[in-house]
Assembly symmetry: C2
Homo-oligomer: 340 residues x 2
């Protein structure tokens, strides 16, 4: 039985870009599960861009973290001790827990992690987790592309974007992805089957890059990033274009309200639809998404990758790396190896 | 039979805000109708903000006007001579003709102007014309408000906005309108039944004005204007909000790509839908719109007003006045009195 435990709490609210001082590492007791609860040993921890919003005082769609209180996020772990009838020691589970090596949660709030072809434990934080579901509903329900459409994805090599592009390819579309390195572009084109990857660090003229990569214009745009990439894509929208606004990581660390070219004038002539969405709204259909994604992954139709930072104490670096584009695919923190 | 005729041609393409030099007045012959055509004497001429786009070389949804070629627009007129079986001299018609005192058009391209309760000839350029249809489909199909919703309209005292607000009121909503003078605000509140009119020339703090006028936030926003008004409204969108982007008159005369606060980040938390639209797409349903609008106007459920500039030669002033907000309701040019 473990005797030491560590957790990260919010050290202070970041002004602009977070840094190591945003996080504070604390030694705490290993909690005791109460009736209905389960003690989980964290194996892998998810860090996600949306967490940046939780660091601010102003509440958005996700509850604000409080200074001195533990951060929370998706975890894959192993049950150590269970006071809940559904779970017993040694079971692999996933759920939203605190950033800690050991945490308790009510057993009803955990889901089983079922092994499968092409599926490691970390996949349950990525392609089978919240990012995969975001891609699934964002592509199928919001973007809803037709065969032959040109689909553009920003943040294309990330956990969400990489899955969006592959689902769009399965739907018979031409897929163009923006990503921030040659390695990522190769990943898009060679491993994921994107038609064209655009390395946005290699050119300032995204419009020209689009004219080459998407000569028939843009029918569907899945936006994880915002900023100058979106500025360019909006100038290339076809009639009846749809823009799914999933994330805007380009603006998350802004200290003043970010400005840019006005886009409302650009939606009139193409009769474009711009749709913000949150994956949480699709919760009743999460099982459908997970099942579908699992089938695709097991059949080899959808590839996935995780970028792993080793060691619980390095979770802040993993998070900060999201904003410098360190990750290909899903960024996770490997905390421990399974016992069983 | 008339012996003189005048027309306006595009004198030169405006850089930024148009002025009198944008327009050139020419004396021409009265045209002879060919087989199938009708000679129409212009009684009233419509000037509309969308025409600004036609003055530019870059083509948007409406064809560019050419320098030296006549401008075109909606006209109400009287048939002088007909070579088309559907029309005979003395009939009142409406259609898209050149900016001239006399013009020919194929008879199939003209529609009858039927008199009615509360309906002068000019109403067929406004509430029963393109602006009324824009309001009708923009409100019913795009905005689609529910009873109890708060609907915000920019350019609320204009031809489109004034009708949008009244249709939204008929749908059981709370309606807030932005307009540019105290007289317009009184028009909204006293004549049209808007719940609140906001005079945007009297305050810079549109957010605060909205907090007072729309304390429950904004469910639906019908945007004719763009710019700082839209910047404020986007910060007050409720979950499931819809924004109908009809026009962006604030930006039409910009000489450089206009910039402003980025709005894509603002659509995520409210899962907002931003929808550009063009009335032309609804053409198959124009008769439905006209009939419905006519019923409302005749029953006194929808008020309408025209601001009239007298004299064909003053058409440019009427057009330029759209950008300084001279008009309440529909801006028209009175060219001649009917003979019959």
């Amino acid at each position: 039985m473990a005797t030491t435990n560590r957790q990260f709490v919010l050290g202070k609210r970041p002004e602009g870009t977070p840094d190591r001082d945003t996080f504070e590492l604390e030694e705490i007791e290993v909690p005791e599960p109460e009736y209905g609860e389960v003690l989980v040993r964290t194996l892998s921890l998810s860090v996600d861009p949306y967490m940046r919003g939780r660091m601010d005082e102003a509440e958005s769609y996700a509850e604000s973290w409080q200074v001195g209180e533990p951060m929370e996020g998706a975890v894959v772990g192993e049950v150590v001790e269970s006071e809940h009838e559904a779970w017993s020691a040694g079971a692999f589970v996933t759920g939203n827990l605190t950033w800690s090596e050991y945490a308790t949660a009510h057993g009803d709030r955990l889901s089983p992690v079922e092994p499968g072809e092409n599926l490691g434990l970390e996949a349950h934080l990525g392609v089978l987790g919240m990012p995969g579901r975001t891609a699934y509903f964002g592509t199928r329900d919001v973007l809803d592309p037709y065969p032959g459409d040109t689909v553009v994805v920003s943040g294309a090599a990330g956990a969400v974007g990489s899955t969006v592009g592959q689902i769009a390819k399965l739907a018979g579309t031409r897929v163009v992805g923006f990503a921030g390195s040659e390695e990522k572009v190769r990943y898009l084109e060679e491993d994921l089957g994107f038609d064209v990857g655009i390395n946005y660090t290699e050119t300032d003229d995204y419009r020209e890059a689009l004219d080459e990569a998407a000569p028939d214009g843009v029918d569907r745009y899945f936006d994880n990033v915002g900023g100058p990439i979106s500025d360019a894509v909006f100038t290339r929208l076809n009639v009846d274009a749809t823009v799914a606004v999933c994330g805007q990581i380009d603006t998350y660390n802004a200290t003043e309200a970010p400005t840019g070219p006005r886009k409302l004038p650009m939606v009139i002539a193409p009769r474009a639809t711009v749709q913000g969405f949150l994956v949480f709204d699709y919760e009743p259909r999460f099982p459908q998404a997970t099942e579908h994604l699992r089938e695709w992954v097991e059949a080899g139709d959808i590839e996935h990758r995780e970028t792993v930072v080793e060691g619980f104490e390095n979770a802040p670096d993993a998070f900060l790396g999201l904003f410098s584009g360190d990750n290909i695919g899903k960024q996770v923190v490997k905390v421990a190896e399974p016992d069983s």
